[in-house]
Symmetry: C2
Subunit: 168 residues, 2 copies
C-alpha cells in the first residue's frame, strides 16, 4: 500500500503553495453553549477564561454564504494553545457554515485555519485542489478577510483561509 502510494505521489511535481499552508494556526469548534465551552477549555489549557465577543451582523461584515449575502452572526471566543489558537463559535442564526455544521454533525471541530500571504492566489490554489468557497466575510469591517471552503468530504473538516489587511 505504501509503495503504491509512493509511485503515484505527485508531491515533487505539485506547484508551489502559499507559505501559509505550512502551519495550522487555528482549530475551531462549534458549540451550542459558548459560556460553558469557554470555561471547560480555559480549565484544560490552564489559561484565563476568554472574553466572549459577538460578531457584527453579517450584512455589515460582508458575509456571503452559499453565494448569497447572509446576516449570520456568532458568539466567538479565542484561547491560546501555542502556535495554535482554539476558536469557539456559537452560531446566532442566519445562514452560515457554522449553523450548517451544527445541524449536520452536532458540536465538534468545524475548521482549521491557515494564515495566507496572498488571499486571491491561495483561493485559486484551493480551487485547483477542488475546493469551493462556501462562506466568506470580514473579521470586522476595518480589518481582515476569511474564507471557508467545502472540503469536508475530502479532508474531514472545513479549511479556512485568513488574511489580514496590509498595515496602513
Amino acid at each position: 500500500m505504501g509503495a503504491a502510494l509512493a509511485m503515484t505521489a505527485g508531491a515533487q511535481t505539485a506547484p508551489p503553495r502559499d507559505p501559509g499552508f505550512k502551519a495550522i494556526v487555528q482549530v475551531a469548534l462549534v458549540t451550542r453553549n459558548i459560556e460553558a465551552s469557554a470555561q471547560h477549555w480555559s480549565a484544560l489549557l490552564g489559561v484565563e477564561v476568554p472574553k466572549i465577543m459577538t460578531s457584527r451582523p453579517g450584512n455589515e461584515v460582508h458575509v456571503i454564504y452559499q453565494g448569497k449575502p447572509s446576516n449570520a452572526r456568532a458568539k466567538l471566543a479565542f484561547l491560546s494553545a501555542g502556535q495554535v489558537q482554539v476558536e469557539l463559535i456559537q452560531p446566532l442564526g442566519g445562514g452560515s457554515a457554522w449553523q450548517q455544521f451544527l445541524d449536520e454533525h452536532g458540536e465538534g471541530v468545524h475548521h482549521i485555519a491557515f494564515n495566507v500571504q496572498n488571499l486571491a492566489q491561495a483561493e485559486s490554489e484551493m480551487k485547483a485542489l477542488g475546493y469551493d468557497a462556501i462562506h466568506s466575510g470580514r473579521w470586522d469591517s476595518d480589518n481582515g478577510d476569511y474564507v471557508y471552503f467545502d472540503s469536508t468530504k475530502a479532508l474531514g473538516l472545513v479549511v479556512e483561509l485568513l488574511h489580514g489587511d496590509p498595515k496602513k
Copy 2:
C-alpha cells in the same frame, strides 16, 4: 456576559498544570479511506504523501478500551503542519475510541493531543477536571504511552495525552 464570566473565572486559583497543556501538538482525524485522505492532505499542505503504517495488534501494545483489553488496530499516517502534526487514522476493527467516533459521528476530527512531561500527574489533572480515560495503549511495545479521555461532551473532541519513554 463577558463580565459575569470574568467574575466566575477561576483561572487565578486553578492548580498549576503540566506544561504540556500549553501547546496542541496533534490534530487527528478518523477516516474510512486513509490512502485517499493521505493524498488530499499532502496536496493541501504541499508536503509528500506520507507512508501509511499499520499499528501492532492491540494485545501486543497493551490497548485498553472501556476498561478491558482490546485487540484494536488502525492504519496511521502523519503529516507535518508546523508545530502541529496531522494524524490520519483508519480503524481496522476491534473496540476502539476511533471506531466509536466513526460509528457515532462519521469521518472528522477525533482528537487533539498534548505532549505531557509526567503522565501519571497529567492523568490526575484530567480526572480532576472530570475526564475519564476511555482508551489507552503504547505507540509501540518499545516506546511511548497514549491515553484518550472522554471529553467530547464538554470540549467537543477527545483529548489525548502523549508521553515518550525516557531515553536510555
